[in-house]
């Protein structure tokens, strides 16, 4: 899976914001913290949920189940707005 080309990732201050282009069906914006930013960075190239979890475990000192829960929640939200292909 990969970030859809109609969604841009914009970082401003401590926030990561997903902004849809005029071509996307979703017309809102999604604001998140650095965890969202890290996941989106990983999704610039085609990847899998498991690979994202592995990378996040290298970056953050937290139990796998916590990371897995966060990653799944974020991916589910992104899928909900059409921001993920595959």
């Amino acid at each position: 899976m990969k970030l859809n080309k109609n969604f841009l990732v914009h970082k401003t201050g401590n926030d990561t914001i997903i902004v849809p282009t005029g071509n996307a069906d979703f017309s809102g914006v999604v604001k998140g913290n650095e965890t969202l930013g890290a996941i989106l960075d990983l999704m610039k190239k085609d990847t899998t949920e498991e690979r994202i979890i592995q990378e996040m475990m290298k970056m953050y000192d937290a139990p796998r189940e916590t990371i897995e829960k966060d990653v799944r929640k974020i991916i589910s939200s992104l899928k909900g707005i059409g921001a993920i292909d595959g």
């Binding site: 282009t21 005029g22 604001k31």
Partner: protein, 243 residues
């Protein structure tokens, strides 16, 4: 039909299928070599019809039938807005009023009362309050800050002036029983700024637009106003924001 117009300092040639858009833009007409050429096809008009229906549905309204010449007006401004980021300019949704050489933009979702509030400024300040654009101004950003332009696309009451005024503040407006205003950070304002900015379909133009918003935010004060429709709301917002 072809006509040439000046908006936000750029000369725009409009090639349309119908006359209406030329009547709509006539106060901005000029005779110059164009920087931008906008040509409309039936497919552009059909795209606007689809977009309008989707917006009506999203906001819980029954999609209404609009004539092609009206939809063409929308298509023209969309094409202009797509090209403007190349010239460090973007389209913003808000009611922009100028007082003593500074422009204040009130922004909010449609139906909140932006135009009602800027009309109160006019009641309070008389001719000192000049309506720059009641609905969709163009904003040009450079190293010195942002400048707000009147354009023909100025809302249902057709209120605008063909002028350019430095932007002083952006105020997010909400309805409230009691009037209150507070200064907010760029971070607090940012989501609303993005939602109220025209987002180009072209991703490079969108990237440029985001850079322009960030640059504008460095030079602009942000406020959040809760207001009713009494003149005291305008007294509070003007006296606080003028500094």
């Amino acid at each position: 039909m072809t006509g040439t117009y000046k908006m936000a300092g750029k000369i725009i040639e409009i090639n349309s299928l119908y006359k209406k858009v030329h009547d709509y833009c006539k106060e901005y007409s000029c005779v110059c070599e164009p920087d931008i050429t906008v040509s409309i096809t039936q497919a552009d008009i059909d795209y606007e019809r689809k977009k309008s229906a989707a917006a009506d549905t999203a906001e819980g309204r029954t999609p209404h039938v609009s004539p092609d010449d009206y939809l063409e007006e929308l298509a023209v401004y969309r094409k202009i807005a797509e090209k403007m980021p190349e010239y460090d300019t973007f389209l913003f949704h808000g009611s922009a009023v100028a007082v003593d050489g500074g422009c204040y933009i009130f922004t909010a979702k449609s139906g909140t009362g932006k135009s009602t509030h800027t009309r109160l400024w006019h009641t309070l300040l008389g001719e000192r309050a000049v309506m720059v654009n009641d609905d969709k101004p163009l904003i040009h950003v450079d190293d010195n800050g942002a400048v707000v332009f009147g354009t023909p696309y100025n809302g249902k009451h057709r209120l605008s002036t063909n002028i350019a005024v430095p932007l002083k503040a952006v105020c997010i407006l909400e309805r409230a029983d009691e009037n209150c205003i507070r200064s907010i950070t760029k971070g607090e304002a940012y989501t609303m700024l993005l939602q109220q900015t025209y987002r180009p379909a072209d991703s490079q133009a969108l990237i440029k637009t985001l850079v322009l918003i960030d640059r504008m935010a460095e030079h602009t004060a942000f406020w959040r106003l809760g207001c009713n429709m009494d003149i005291s709301a305008a007294e509070l917002s003007y006296n606080t924001m003028k500094g």
